[in-house]
Each structure stands twice: as C-alpha cells, then as structure tokens.
Amino acid sequence: MWGFVMILRAENLSKRYMRKSGQGNNFYAVKGADLTLESGTVTVVTGRSGSGKTTLLHLLAGLLTPTEGKVWLDDSDLYALDDAQLSRLRNARIGVIPQGRSCVDTLTVLENALLPGTMYGGQADPDAALVWLAALGIESLAAARPAELSGGELRRVAIARALHQNPDVLLADEPTGDLDDENTQRVLRLFRDQAKAHHKIVLLVSHDAEAAAYADRIYRMDGGILKSD
C-alpha cells in the first residue's frame, strides 16, 4: 500500500480562442472544468472530435496557458510557476503522450525514448529504456529512425518514452488510436498497471470504447464542458 495520495486538480479551468475569421468570434474549447485526479486511478475522458479533450489534456500538462482557472499538482500551481520551474516539473513529474507524431526525426527509437532523461544532465539508461520498448513489442526497432516506422509503432515509441520517463502523472491523448486490438490491450494493461502497481495518476483521452473498460472514472467532454459519466 502507498502511504500518500498525489493529486492533479483543475479548478474552473477554461480556454477561450478567437477565430481568425471574424471579429469577436470567441469560443470556449474548455469551459469551467473542475477535475480531481488521484494517484492509483485511471481516468478516461471521452467525447466527440472537437469537443475539447485535447485542450483539456494540454491544460492539465502545463502546455497551454488557461484563460481562466488553475491547475494544481499537489501543492504546485502549475501556471504560477515560471517557465524554467514548470519545464523542470513537467520533465520530472508529468509524462505526456500527445496525439500524432511526436518523435524527433533525427534520433533513433532508443534515443527518442532516452530523451526526457537527458534533459537536465541525467544519465541515460538504455537498458531500462529497452525494457519498455520490449514491453511494447518494438525492441527490434531500437536502432530505427522514426521515418521508417508505421503510425502504430510511432505511437508505441511515444508511450515507451513516457513510461521510461517514470513520471507521477501520465497524460495520454488517444494512446490506442493507431493500434491493432492486441497492442491496444497491451497498452491499456500497461497504463492500468502504472496506476495500480506504481501508484501513478493516469488520464487517457480516448474515443476507444475499450479504454473505458480499464477506467476507474469516466468523463465526457461535450462542447468544451466536462461532465461526469
């Protein structure tokens, strides 16, 4: 049993954009979201395309300054930190798996997986990274460059990189989007294991109905509004 609970909390979180096409044409990608994520739990956010799921994830990761509201990771108000502090915190505690391609093209698969660990002068641990690549079935691609990989393989590299980073919080945007059934199950099991066995906060943004089966809590985004299912 873990003796403490880590919390990622959003209070009245909003992100408003202005469309370039017209003056005063504002819209909320996320509006007034309140959310508390605890360690040891898997939370899934579902919703249609354009409903604001990805924006919510970026706000929670400290990657997108909110128009209103706050995000707390334990005692740290993410957007009250300066850029250097927030970057360092993200490197140490928040693992993000973004949508789409997220590998550095000039690095090999293994080098991509090692990248977060090198950010602040830490020692790269290729053996540990290879364990994650093996867990995701891509260890044979360690020396390959991203341009040689399929969409599903690239997705698994991003997941391996986030897992190797060993953060307290895992935020994954459509992590099973390009994966076949077998790999979808493998990835979802890994995320659940991270939450249950390693006491991490796991948030999955997903269209995938299978993801819901692994969730402790499910939310739905609809027109920028976060609703508990």
Binding site: T54, T55, H58, L59, A61, L63, L64, T65, D83, A84, S87, R88, R90, N91, A92, V96, P98, Q99, G100, R101, S102, C103, V104, D105, T106, L107, L110, E111, L114, L115, P116, T118, M119, Y120, G121, A124, P126, R145, R161, Q165
Partner: protein
C-alpha cells in the same frame, strides 16, 4: 546519448537541410571576405603608390599625353618613352624652394627575355635619388654598377641571372618587394646603364624622341620641396621656369587614382552591404521557415521538459555550428577565387593592388567567420523568440 549532442545529430542526420543553410552562409562569407580582401588590397596599393612616389612635385615633358602615360606607368607598368633635355634638371634646381631634385629616365624594352610583354626600364641617379633608392636599399644595399639591374617582383628573372635587353646583357642583382603598382613590372638601373640601353634602342630605331645633339635625357624629375615652402607655389614657379615641361603636384596626380579607388571601394562596400542585407533577410526567412517546419519537433521537446532557454540554447548551438561551417567554407572559397587571380583583378580594375599580408588576411577571415556566426545566432535567436511566444500546446495541435 546527451542532450548537448542533439544539435550535431540534427545537422548530420539531415544533410540536405544542413547543406542548404551552410551554402547560404558560405555565400555571405564568400562575398564579405572576398570583397574585404579586394578593398584592402586597393587601399594598400594606394598607400604603397604614395610611399613609392615619395615626391611633392613631378616635372615631366609637356606633351599632352605625358600625364596619362605617367599614370599608366604607375598603375599598369605600361611602357612608354618621353624625354626632356637633361639640362632641365639644372633649371629645376634653380627654382627657389626646390629641396631635392632627382631625375629618372624611362625606356620601354622590346620583348625581353624575362617577359612576354614589354617592360619599363627606369634609370635612376643613385647620387640624388630619394624615391626609388630607399626602396631598392631594402633589397640591395650596394651601389648599382654599370649594367646591373634591379627587377620588380613580377619580372621573371632571378638574382644572379643575365637579363637581355636590346641585345645587351644586364645583370640582375636584386628583386624588389611587391608594391601592387606598375613599378612591380619595371627594371631599374643607373643612368650610365640607361644611356647605354638608350643608345642600343636608338640603334635599333626604337626611340625617336631622344635629343639629336647627343645630350643626355631624362623622362621625369622628382622634386622634394624644401621645408617652409608651399608646394603649390614651387610648382607654379617650376612651370614658369622650366621650358617644355609641366610640373604637377604628386598629390593631384594621385587624386585621380584615389578617386577611382574610392569609387571602386565604395562600389565594393555597397555590394558587400547589399549582399549582407540580402543574406540577413534570406537567413532570417530560412531560419523562420526551418523553425516553422520544425514547430512540432520543438513542441515535443517542450512537452518533454525543455524550458524556453534550453530549447533556445539547442537552436543557437545548431545555428552556430551551421554558421561556422558555412563561414569557413565561404572564406575558403573566396581565398580560392581571389588569391590565385590577383593579377587578373588588378588588370581589370586598373588600380594599384597590393594583396594584404597573411596576418591581415587571417584577421579578415576571422572577422568574417565571427560576423557569419553573429548573423546565424541573430537569425536563430529571432526565430526562437517567436517560437517561445506561443504555447507548445498550440504547436502540438496545429501539427497533429
């Protein structure tokens, strides 16, 4: 794997992109370094010409074309022959304010053994000369004997060899340092040797304007004005006193050369400026485009925990490596283009041209490389600044 290795990996594993940026920087460095060397050589040439001339006033035959001929001699070493009676020297010395007066006699060779073209033979009077002698003394400290010659650096004859002029053998005793002027293709001798050569030329029917009464002749008289006298007034006095001769202030003779040089220098400087401006704009656009293309890659680095400063540092290192490579390549290409073709540049510009000393060339090369480094840094810093103004989340959404 260390983060500091990332810029080098980005450069070596994207050779096409790296080569394009390097070539752009190399073009900038080539134009700046090549242009700077040419301007420096022109300035050096003028300074050398002024130093070699060393006189306040030059008295020449009054023929309309003499001034042009003399300038041609100075700049291109174009051989010519025009003469005054040697008695003009005495008339010059009679004028108040003349401190020193040194005669020189010019004779164009026929095709000499040394050269495919005619060379200018200049006879000096070692006893009175104050213009060429100090220069000769840098290479040869002894008195010039009869039929001894000292050759300019571009005359193809070695010390100790015989040089055949008008079927007479002269003996090369020294070779002069480079001046970047027409003097580099001239041959110097004393007046006795010159008179012998003049007679040989006359026998061959080459010179027609030597005085017929057997008097010795001179082509120009160099005058140093005595201290306390005004050069302009002495010049006017000489024009009134010496028959069939024109006295010209040396500075005014060089004014035309200096004006041409200023014009060429200004044109080259303008071209360098234009190339700089163009290259800066192109580099800024190139870096902006490159960084725009790589927005998602940089956003990924940000989401992995790179701060703005850390990311800016990586971009700066990449730009510095590219600029350094491009700068060195550009300087090397410019050196290959400029130094082997010194003679061609000199003849096409028609101006005194003295290639800078190796130390100066090294300084210009270092300054050029430093400038390209600064421009690369500026371009990437500007692009990094623009990138830092946007949240990484936006870049991730746009490029997804």
């Amino acid at each position: 794997m260390k983060l500091s290795q990332l810029p080098l990996k980005n450069l070596t594993r994207r050779p096409g992109r790296t080569a394009a940026l390097m070539l752009l920087t190399a073009f900038l460095a080539l134009s700046v370094f090549g242009g700077s060397v040419v301007v420096d050589a022109l300035r050096g040439g003028l300074a050398s010409l002024e130093a070699r001339l060393g006189a306040d006033i030059i008295v020449m035959p009054a023929e309309a074309e003499s001034k042009v001929s003399f300038k041609n001699l100075l700049l291109q070493g174009t051989a010519g022959a025009y003469y005054l009676d040697a008695s003009a020297l005495e008339r010059v010395r009679e004028v108040e304010g003349v401190g020193q007066a040194a005669p020189q006699t010019f004779l164009a060779s026929l095709k000499a053994d040394c050269c495919a073209v005619k060379v200018q033979i200049i006879g000096i009077d070692p006893a009175t000369d104050f213009t060429v002698k100090p220069w000769i003394e840098q290479s040869y400290r002894r008195e010039l004997q009869d039929m001894d010659v000292v050759v300019g650096c571009r005359v193809n004859a070695d010390v100790g060899e015989d040089l055949r002029i008008y079927d007479l053998n002269t003996h090369v005793v020294a070779r002069l340092a480079e001046t970047g002027t027409g003097f580099d293709t001239a041959v110097y001798c004393n007046m006795a040797t010159m008179n012998t050569l003049l007679k040989a030329a006359e026998d061959k029917g080459v010179t027609h304007r030597i005085t017929s009464d057997g008097e010795e002749v001179v082509s120009a008289i160099y005058v140093k004005v005595a201290e306390g006298y005004d050069v302009g007034k002495v010049c006017n006095a000489l024009n009134g006193h010496v028959r069939k001769a024109t006295a010209v202030k040396a500075k005014s003779m060089l004014t035309g050369v200096a004006d041409s040089l200023t014009g060429v220098s200004r044109t080259v400087a303008l071209l360098i400026g234009a190339v700089w401006a163009l290259a800066i704009v192109i580099l800024l656009i190139a870096y902006a485009m490159m960084i725009n293309e790589r927005r998602r890659e940089f956003a990924v680095l940000r989401l992995l925990g790179a701060s703005r400063w850390r990311l800016g540092g990586l971009m700066l290192k990449e730009a510095a490596l590219t600029s350094l490579g491009g700068g060195v390549l550009g300087v090397a290409l410019a050196a290959l283009l400029v130094f082997p073709f010194t003679t061609l540049i000199e003849s096409s510009l028609g101006l005194p041209y003295l290639a800078p000393a190796p130390g100066r060339v090294l300084l210009l090369a270092l300054a050029t490389i430093l400038a390209t480094l600064l421009i690369g840094a500026l371009a990437s810093a500007w692009a990094a600044y623009r990138l830092s103004r946007s949240d990484p989340g936006n870049a991730l959404r746009e490029g997804a």
